[in-house]
C-alpha cells in the first residue's frame, strides 16, 4: 500500500505504476460531465487546478439548515470514459496531476498522462459510503448552477483508497484486461 499526501507533485506522480494500491490524503476537487464540458467550451476554472486531483464524482450532499455547513452523505466515483474527449485538455491547460474515477479511460487520456505527468486512479465504483467516510470536510463549492451532483466540490480527504490503473509511463490495466478478455472470448464462441 502506497501513500500520496498533499501537496501533490509531478515527481510523486511519476513514481506510481499500474497496479499500485494508494491511499490519498489531502485535497480533491469533484468534476464530472458538465464541468468538463464547460471547461472545454472555454470557461476558466473557478479554482487553481495546478498539481491538483480531479474526482469524477457526483456526491449526495446535504446542507445543514442552521449552520449552512455541507455534509457529504455518499460519494463514489462515476464512469470516467465520458470525459475521454476532454480530460487530456484539462491536463494540458491546467496542470492536474491525477484523475480519480471508475471504469478507466481511453488512448487520448493515456497519452495525456504520459505527456503532462498525470495518473488515473480507479476508486471502487458503488462504494459510496466507504469513500464518503474518507471525506473529512467540504471546504468550498463552485458552479453550483450546474446542479449539486455536477458542481465542483472542494473536499479534504484522509486515506482515500484507490488503485492506479493508468500511469504516466503509458501503462494501462484497462487496455490489457480488454485485450486479454477479447482474446479469451474467442475461445468460447
Amino acid at each position: 500500500m502506497k501513500r500520496l499526501n498533499y501537496p501533490f507533485s509531478k515527481e510523486q506522480i511519476r513514481e506510481l505504476r499500474v497496479g499500485d494500491m494508494v491511499l490519498i490524503s489531502g485535497k480533491l476537487f469533484t468534476g464530472r460531465d458538465a464541468v468538463h464540458k464547460r471547461l472545454h467550451d472555454g470557461t476558466k476554472p473557478p479554482v487553481e487546478l495546478k498539481n491538483q486531483i480531479i474526482y469524477h464524482c457526483g456526491p449526495v450532499v446535504l446542507q445543514d439548515k442552521k449552520t449552512k455547513k455541507y455534509e457529504v452523505k455518499a460519494a463514489g466515483p462515476t464512469t470516467s470514459i465520458r470525459e475521454e474527449p476532454y480530460q487530456w485538455e484539462v491536463m494540458r491547460d491546467y496542470g492536474i496531476v491525477g484523475v480519480i474515477g471508475k471504469g478507466g479511460m481511453g488512448p487520448k487520456t493515456l497519452e495525456g498522462c504520459k505527456q503532462y505527468g498525470c495518473v488515473y486512479f480507479h476508486a471502487i465504483g458503488g462504494a459510496a459510503q466507504v469513500l464518503a467516510e474518507k471525506i473529512k470536510s467540504v471546504d468550498s463549492v463552485h458552479w453550483l448552477d450546474l446542479g449539486s451532483p455536477e458542481a465542483i466540490w472542494e473536499l479534504s480527504v484522509e486515506e482515500f483508497p484507490v488503485v492506479v490503473t493508468m500511469d504516466a509511463h503509458g501503462g494501462s490495466l484497462h487496455s490489457k484486461v480488454d485485450a486479454d478478455s477479447k482474446a479469451a472470448l474467442k475461445n468460447f464462441l
Partner: protein, 356 residues
C-alpha cells in the same frame, strides 16, 4: 432482512377488523335492501363482499394515505441503503473466490465494507440513486392516479432526507430542479393481478450500469451471430466483454429475447426483479443463464474490470414473441450495488411484509 419497524400490530388489526366488520354490515344491509325484490340471496352477499374488497384497496381515508406515504418512504430508504439477502450472499461468495492480495480481492473487500456501512448508517449504498423504477401489482379498482400522487410526495421527502440524490435533469435545458420529478421520473409500471393485495417493488438503477446495457438485432454479421440461440449467446457475451468494469462489476444481466425494441428493454429490467437463486422454469433459458455466467467468469475481467475471477454474479433471461422480421436481444446490466426491494401492503397501507 430482519425486522425493520414494529408497527402497533394488534391495534391496527383490531381497528381494521372493526372497521371492516362495520363496513361489511352496512354495505350488506344496503345491498340486501336493494336486492330484497330479488330472491337470490347469494347474489347480494357476493355484491357486498365485492364492495368491501373495493373499499379496502382503494385508498379510502386520509389516514390510509399517510400510511401509504410512510410505507413508500420506508421502501425507498431500505432499497437505497440495504442490499437484498439473495444478492449479498453471492457477493460474499465472489469475495471468497478471488485470489488473496490482488486488486480484485481488495475491490470485493471494499464492496463488502460498503454494504455493511450503508446499512449501519442508513445512507445510500451508491451516490447514484438511479432511475426510480416502481413495479406495482394491484387488484381491480385500484386508484393509480392517487397512488402516483403519493409516490411523488414520497420521492420529494426521500430526496430531502438524502435517501435519493438530486438525480433528475431536464434533457433540453440541463436544469436540475432537485426534486427527482419530471417527465419519465419516476418510472411507474402498474400490473393488475388476481390477488387481493397490493405489492410494490422498487428498483434504483444507476446510470453507470444503465449505460452499458445493449440491444442487438440478429443476425449480426460482425459477431457472426445468427437468428438462433447460439447467436443470442454470442451477442450477450459480446455485451459482457464490452461492459468491462464500467458498469461496476461484478454485475447481473437481465435479458429479453424477442419483443420489439421498447418491450425488450422493459422486460429485461423486469428479469432483474427475479431472485438471484430462482430457477428459470424454461429449461432452455435456465441452461443459457448458467452458461452465460460460467463463460463470462472465464473471461478474466473481474471486479471493477481489474482482472479476476468474478465478472458476473448472475444472469436472468426471459423471452417474448417477436415479429418474423425482428429478432432483438435486449440486455440490461445491473451493478453489484443491486438496489431492489419490495413490500406487500396491509389493508390500511402499512407494510405487511418485505418481498426480498
Amino acid at each position: 432482512m430482519g425486522v425493520r419497524q414494529r408497527p402497533a400490530k394488534k391495534l391496527n388489526k383490531k381497528t381494521t377488523k372493526k372497521v371492516a366488520k362495520k363496513a361489511t354490515k352496512k354495505i350488506a344491509k344496503k345491498a340486501a335492501k336493494k336486492t330484497t325484490k330479488k330472491t337470490d340471496k347469494n347474489k347480494a352477499l357476493k355484491k357486498a363482499i365485492k364492495k368491501t374488497a373495493k373499499k379496502v384497496v382503494a385508498l379510502p381515508g386520509l389516514g390510509h394515505e399517510v400510511h401509504l406515504f410512510n410505507s413508500i418512504v420506508e421502501l425507498i430508504r431500505i432499497t437505497s441503503a440495504e442490499i437484498p439477502n439473495d444478492i449479498q450472499k453471492v457477493i460474499l461468495e465472489a469475495l471468497a473466490a478471488e485470489e488473496k492480495n490482488t486488486t480484485a480481492e481488495y475491490a470485493m473487500n471494499i464492496i463488502k465494507a460498503n454494504i455493511e456501512l450503508a446499512k449501519k448508517k442508513s445512507q445510500p449504498i451508491c451516490q447514484d440513486t438511479g432511475t426510480v423504477l416502481f413495479y406495482i401489482s394491484h387488484p381491480a379498482n385500484f386508484d393509480q392516479i392517487k397512488f402516483t400522487k403519493i409516490v411523488h410526495k414520497a420521492i420529494l421527502a426521500s430526496t430531502k432526507k438524502g435517501y435519493l440524490r438530486q438525480n433528475s435533469v431536464d434533457s433540453l435545458t440541463g436544469e436540475n430542479p432537485g426534486t427527482n420529478l419530471g417527465p419519465g421520473h419516476p418510472d411507474l409500471h402498474f400490473h393488475q393481478h388476481t390477488k387481493n393485495t397490493v405489492e410494490i417493488k422498487l428498483m434504483l438503477k444507476g446510470g453507470g450500469c444503465e449505460n452499458v446495457g445493449a440491444q442487438y438485432s440478429l443476425p449480426n454479421n460482425e459477431l457472426g451471430a445468427g437468428r438462433d440461440l447460439d447467436g443470442v449467446r454470442k451477442v450477450i457475451l459480446d455485451a459482457v466483454q464490452k461492459a468491462q468494469g464500467k458498469g461496476c462489476g461484478p454485475g447481473v444481466l437481465g435479458i429479453t429475447i424477442g419483443g420489439d425494441r421498447g418491450a425488450g428493454y422493459v422486460y429485461s429490467k423486469e428479469q432483474l426483479l427475479r431472485k438471484l437463486d430462482d430457477k428459470n422454469s424454461n429449461k432452455v433459458l435456465a441452461d443459457l443463464e448458467k452458461d452465460i455466467v460460467e463463460t463470462s467468469n472465464k473471461l478474466g475481467i473481474g471486479p471493477m474490470g481489474f482482472g479476476g475471477k468474478t465478472t458476473l454474479l448472475g444472469c436472468k433471461i426471459g423471452a417474448l414473441n417477436r415479429l418474423p422480421a425482428s429478432f432483438f436481444v435486449s440486455i440490461s446490466y445491473m451493478c453489484w450495488a443491486y438496489r431492489r426491494q419490495g413490500i406487500q401492503l396491509k389493508a390500511d397501507n402499512s407494510i405487511q411484509k418485505w418481498l426480498y
